[in-house]
Symmetry: C2
Subunit: 566 residues, 2 copies
């Protein structure tokens, strides 16, 4: 299994990478190599799929790849076009496209819109390579108990190849492992679960491809969040043995017609396969999130052609964690910090920011906003006459900072990373065009309580903590007016975060959430804040999805609605 | 047909409105009254549909409506829940829910995501009211040649009730009329096509409900973009006559099982029905767009609880048209103009702005940005040392304006309307957080060439033009540096707009567009501008969809992609 990092729309780059991995697999004496779902186009290509030229170019790319695939059999994800378009897997053999499988179960929930683009396939497919049956499935196909894997194993597949572009969320790897173990046992077949790697807008793919035998034993597992060539040697005798008792299907009627094809192995390399079997260890539960964020930043920045990023540093934990992640992703020399103090900025914020910047070895500019703030207040003096200072004056400061940091971006080509967390984004506790201004929102899907865990975890990896203890211990504040604290406006984060999880991610209602042990008044206030701030989220930059429901394509709420607003 | 303006999530408000229209229809001596698709919840409710409490509350609302529906039969769109949820129509009769129909064809393209939420229905449905067969269909159901209307007419339906939430685009009413005429003739049945009215985020629904007889003759048509009760008296004898020759189905095999129900009319009012039959005239091709924009603004502002709006006036045509539309939608006293001159702003811009404001009778503030601009340049002096003025300095000005106008919004609760057109939004010729800052982008889907047509059309309705001739005649300029013209950066709009339409709306490729008569260099430049500015559009406010493909839910492009970027 070649778990590669495709880039959406980079047909020639993806093709080159696929051919390189085909060559590497051949060198290693591999018989069959698989590539992720839509490896040729990248995933998800979204409305590029509506462009006939894109579909045509993807088909041409596959043909070129096929010509390079000699002396090995390769399963490659691409878009197939006949009377409609299909999410497909090509079997490449002897320099040509020997067969094409069409994905049968198309996900159309969460971040997925596959019914928008693709027609459903109808035929399971098995190819026999020197008599060994290999069934093909694509991603969601495997999640259905009576999906094509069952038909294929009935038709003689000893091995099920499953190719995926399965977006990461916390701990999802464990759900996948349990699933393929169940499917392997049900079907008495080995399963090779290949998964895409890398970041694509708000999604990250974690790779971590797995091979299990017919009993569900893990034979091999690829690296987490990194490209890898994952190799396993299957004990076919053992599968034949298990087959004597036969995999049972639950529902005989659902049996589909299975297409089959016989191929003779064309392996030119007759030396004993060089097995590099390995099983990547289970990840640390906080460490895996950190890796997801690092890959998300790295790929968004690099795939969009940026070299450097700029981050507004406030002296708070959110911007500190964002800076650490960015340095991990891009290196110190590619991260620039900007400290933009106002008259409300404390000495502690300055001290902590400088100490963080020193630990991270990043260049930091100090651009005070005091004079711009007083000039703009002057400009607005007539219009504001007779009013008392409030939100308008607070946001004015945040938007001056937004303007300054965007000016640096425009002048030097640095991508602006924003620093808001999921607790803020969900309640609208952020300034649109102010601290929300930027190209990528690194910790947008990270609740504040997890921000602390990530910071502590990351600090624990170093002898000397990167994030100063003073930042870790400080009470959260936006410093937009004297003595301001987050808790003046929001419930404490240890109360807020579980309410948000229940409402935003789990669709629980007021009553259910109250029963979890919160006051109804608090619950209603939080829900109302969520509903009233949808317009801000709609204009927020994308960020890395790490929970089962992120803010973005995952959650499509109307702005105009009266539900739950009081 | 009650073509009403539901608000998404306003279950009690929508229910009240439905009951009011039921009462009105009873007063008029009507036998059967229909309401639009999802009239109870509003359309589209999007991910509110994932909240069990929302589905439950919608069901309770329907029960309340049913209790009020005595002495008439009503067909009401709502969400039905059994083992899954359905886009459904309830037949209310004698104070209870007599039957429920489930939509069979679920659109999942363009702005539609119905497969994300609903299960497909499988059974066409006809109820017989005193022996007269009335078949039910929902929106997309009618667009399929062998859809449920065919089954229903075979099963004895003389009338097909079709309830819709069909979003507006230019000239779509004509496509709908042609469609229902074809279906009426095919099935030898009268068709009552009811459509939602009003704005919902980026969508507007134009109503314009139609009743055609079995020969396709238009018997009645409701108002365009306004609530209405549309009444027609059907000549059943004529339908019986047409039935002697029988509607033919093309494909006998596709016949579905049709559910039927017999009801006795419970009309308490035995007086002769008060027929107010009327056919609204065909709209003016530019006038209908203007109406769409006015309704879009009015409903976005009002349904989100705002009273007043604020608009940055530059002296250009885009902000002038936006102001006129807003005054038409909300009245002069609810529109505030802000003129924010810099050192690059000409006297002409000021003169034209003041003259426009006078014509529109709107309050206008003048808040110069010169001092804020020079203060911020000072702040950035060290960071910018050694660089030449460019985009950064231009955007700085636009973002100071964005900050000022948002401050007014925060201070006084005025919603900011932005003024960018589709030509700018498509090419990224706009400043993110600058002129793009605001809650609603009125003319976001209007290409520049259509902006002029709309302005001329609107001027033609007045004795004295609202938009001064000097604005109409002026060469477009952003006035962010001396002597700047749009054409320094963009091709002339009469070249740009057809290229954009071909690429953005019609998915044509470089070769096809070049063949339309444009230089390949220009085409490639435009396409590259489109692809490189996706990140800006992702952070833009919503605006009114008026073309077959708007920027928003209609067009879902990845930000990270290498396709067509060179």
């Amino acid at each position: 299994m070649a778990q590669i990092n495709s880039t959406v729309g980079d047909l020639s780059g993806n093709s080159r990478k696929i051919v390189e991995y085909i060559d590497r697999a051949k060198d290693w004496g591999v018989d069959v190599v698989s590539f992720p779902e839509l490896a040729v186009t990248g995933y998800p290509p979204e409305d590029l799929l509506l462009k006939p030229s894109f579909i045509r170019d993807n088909g041409e790319s596959l043909k070129k790849i096929a010509r390079a695939a000699r002396g090995i059999t390769a399963v490659v994800g691409f878009v197939d076009k006949s009377e409609d378009i299909y999410n497909a897997a090509a079997v490449l053999h002897n320099g040509s496209i020997a067969a094409v499988y069409h994905k049968i179960h198309l996900p159309n929930y969460g971040v997925f819109d596959e019914e928008r683009y693709f027609r459903k396939g109808t035929e399971p497919f098995v190819f026999f390579l020197d008599g060994i049956g290999i069934g093909i499935t694509i991603c969601e196909d495997l999640w259905h108990p009576d999906g094509p894997a069952t038909d294929e194993s009935f038709a003689g597949a000893e091995v099920i190849v499953n190719i995926n572009a399965s977006p990461y969320h916390m701990g999802k790897w464990r759900e996948r492992l349990e699933l393929i173990q169940i499917r392997a046992r049900e079907n008495a077949a080995a399963i090779a679960y290949n998964n895409m790697v890398g970041g694509q807008d708000e999604l990250v793919f974690d790779g971590f491809g797995m091979v299990v035998d017919e009993k569900g034993n893990l034979l091999a597992r690829g690296r987490l969040f990194e490209e890898d060539l994952v190799v396993a040697d299957l004990d076919l005798e053992s599968i034949f043995g298990a087959r004597l008792h036969g995999p049972r299907r639950k529902n005989e009627e659902s049996l589909r017609t299975v297409q089959t094809l016989r191929l003779a192995s064309s392996r030119m390399n007759t030396k004993k396969p060089l097995l590099r079997k390995k099983i990547s260890p289970d990840p640390h539960p906080v460490g895996e999130v950190l890796s997801a964020l690092i890959v998300g930043v790295k790929d968004y920045v690099r795939k969009n052609g940026f070299e450097k990023v700029v981050i507004g540093l406030s002296g708070g934990i959110d911007s500190a964690l964002t800076a650490v992640i960015s340095v991990d992703a891009l290196g110190s020399k590619n991260v620039i910090g900007v400290f933009m103090p106002s008259q409300y900025t404390s000495e502690r914020s300055k001290r902590d920011t400088l100490s963080l910047a020193k630990n991270l070895k990043i260049r930091t500019l100090e651009l005070p906003i005091k004079s711009a703030f007083s000039t703009l207040l002057n400009t607005l003096e007539g219009a504001f006459a007779g009013t008392s200072p409030g939100i308008a004056e607070e946001n004015l400061q945040a938007r001056i900072r937004g303007n300054i940091i965007m000016s640096l971006s425009n002048k030097f080509g640095w991508l602006v990373l924003t620093t808001g967390n999921k607790s803020e984004m969900s309640t609208g506790y952020a300034t649109l065009y102010g601290d929300m201004a930027g190209g990528f929102a690194v910790i947008k899907d990270v609740p504040k309580t997890l921000v602390y865990k990530l910071a502590r975890y990351r600090n624990s990896l170093e002898k000397k903590p990167l994030i100063p203890e003073s930042i870790m211990r400080r009470e959260p504040t936006a410093e937009l007016k004297p003595g301001q604290l987050d808790e003046d406006t929001l419930p404490p984060y240890k109360v807020l975060d579980p309410i948000l999880k229940a409402y935003v991610e789990e669709d629980k209602d007021i009553e259910e959430i109250t029963k979890m042990g919160f006051s109804q008044k608090t619950v209603m206030k939080v829900i109302s804040m969520v509903e009233l701030s949808e317009y801000k989220r709609r204009q927020a930059p994308p960020g890395v999805k790490i929970t089962p429901r992120a803010i973005g394509k995952d959650r499509r709420m109307p702005i105009t609605t009266r539900y739950n607003k009081e």
